[in-house]
Symmetry: C2
Subunit: 345 residues, 2 copies
């Protein structure tokens, strides 16, 4: 395995790799800072992936690269912003094989291309563990951003995609399953897996390893002034709902049976017996959770015709977050993923 | 020692700590992304500090916090940009004492206050080693940014501050000297140091541990359209001069005797016998190296009256970077700090 060349050589390589002709980039990679023709309202966010915390050392670096950008674009999506630019800081052990860096950059650039994101800067440092710290910039529509705190009692709660698939994928990874960029699944210890089950494992692992940011949905909700509040689901449905409600100063009631629990949670052996455990408290779904005022429900119909979204409950004037099932209410605790919890994983 | 609270608690603390009323911040810390009223020309850069690479575990966290922001502001200074906003991503081991985080944040916020920088976002992750990855945003003047590549043959080369003090400070740190935020020096193994020497050690350590970004100088050079090219000195004078010349497509001739070699390099015992070794090839001076066209030398007089700057040589039409001394020329190699060199430190 070839190890990394000198920092100077790497930086020069990045300069040619990230060269751009886009006219909003006045100065790109290769100077002390980038210079951009910025939109009037700029959204900016930052999110890092750390080896051993956010990905295992055996993860296909192409997928790590994709995810490092896409988790940031998911934050932009939750604001209703259109992605424009990104900066990438990499921490790499000196013995990192060049192939790992190449794979990572291929994935990062592929994800950038998909959303017309230009990479305008970065930094490179030696480190003990691999990490990728990304900053993303985007354009907020003139109608203003989606906020966590814009919800009001009476607004309906909606969620995109399904819940719990990424958490199920994490459980599979912890049991030794792997998936590469082409979708090929490797089972632990040469275990035999039927083709049907293998496809389902690949799908659950895809949710964990290669989440897709809901950019178009976020933009439609913001530009059409349809949602009053939004958040992306990164730390688990329950925790992120608590955040949206805390910011909005509302309570919420969620219909348990309306929740789009991923279909794989009930059928895949080895997962917790109650699929709702993963759906409510598992993280990294990267769908959007958002609130829609009653008077915008007609416009919401157009959104529902285009995206997989589901109405799951309602904000209310209480200070409680509850689950409703057959007329019975139970509290939904503020529980989810926590980097600093001692038993987090 | 109290260890870190939960991530949720930390994030809430950051929200109140980084709350702002500045009107260009439409959405600050606490949502999925910040939303800013951006300047027409936005400078953006990112730079990370990693424990064991960029600071030792015994470094006063207040100074690490200051430096994490200031190395980024130094990059903005080299573009002639005025700092506006910053984002901070921290990787922290779970057993990090709360006091370390508090010290870091105090330092980061103090450096931000000094330059009217508002912290608008961030991320927090568990990690094996501590790291701080920062992104800084700034306003580029309407006259345009300073670039590395704007120099022309005949332009005079100038440098701010002195050279080599931070490298001398690093040599002291590696020998066990420490300096806290108040300037108090601790000598290794209870070694006795005279008060005069102690002051000099404190000064050299200050250059390494608490560099000051040359914001006002950079702005004056850009807004007055005085410099044709600029770069900040982060990886050593020689390496950064090579970068400026490569980008400008010029060579350069530097007068060895004109170089502002720091006065401490010749008098401090235990440093390399030739002070020029540290001055030319040591990193982290964080002054500005810049080129001034002959027709702007009168305007440059006003700069020289306000800042400690020195004329050190000239860009030329050769492809060589040389040192001149008493009529003799010797090549100045492209050597300096490299994160990925095996024997870097």
């Amino acid at each position: 395995m070839k190890a990394l060349p000198s920092e100077n050589d790497l930086l020069r390589r990045f300069e040619s790799l990230f060269a751009t002709r886009r006219r909003d980039v006045k100065v790109g990679v290769g100077d002390d800072a980038a210079v951009l023709a910025a939109p009037a309202l700029l959204a900016v966010c930052t999110d890092a992936l750390v080896e051993g915390e956010d990905f295992t050392s055996g993860t296909d670096p192409y997928l790590v690269g994709r995810k490092a950008l896409n988790v940031n674009l998911s934050d932009l999506a939750a604001m209703g912003a259109a992605p424009l630019h990104a900066l990438l800081t990499l921490g790499l052990p000196r013995q990192t094989p060049v192939a790992w860096l190449d794979g990572f950059l291929d994935g990062f650039r592929a994800a950038a291309r998909e959303q017309a994101v230009v990479i305008v800067g970065g930094d490179l440092s030696a480190s003990i563990e691999r990490f990728a710290s990304v900053t993303a910039l985007g354009r907020v529509p003139a109608s203003g951003p989606l906020r966590r705190g814009g919800g009001n009692p009476g607004d309906e709660l909606w969620v995109s995609g399904t819940l719990g698939a990424a958490a199920a994928g994490l459980s599979l990874v912890l049991r030794g399953y792997r998936r590469d960029r082409e979708g090929k699944v490797t089972a632990p210890h040469g275990r035999r897996v039927s083709p049907v089950r293998r496809d389902e494992i690949a799908r659950l692992l895809r949710h964990l390893l290669d989440p897709r940011p809901m950019i178009d949905l976020g933009r439609m909700l913001a530009e059409g002034e349809i949602a009053s509040a939004a958040i992306d689901l990164s730390d688990g449905f329950a925790r992120d709902l608590h955040r949206l409600c805390r910011a909005s100063g509302t309570g919420a009631c969620v219909e348990r049976e309306a929740l789009p629990v991923d279909s794989g949670l009930a059928t895949m052996p080895g997962l917790p017996s109650d699929p709702y455990d993963l759906a409510l408290f598992g993280g990294e779904d990267y769908g959007l959770l958002f609130a829609v005022p009653p008077q915008r429900l007609r416009a919401m119909g157009k959104v529902a015709a285009r995206f997989a979204v589901r109405r799951i409950g309602r904000l209310d004037a209480t200070s409680k977050i509850v689950l409703a099932e057959g007329g019975r209410l139970s509290p939904l605790p503020d529980r989810g993923f926590d980097h600093f919890a001692r038993d987090a994983r």
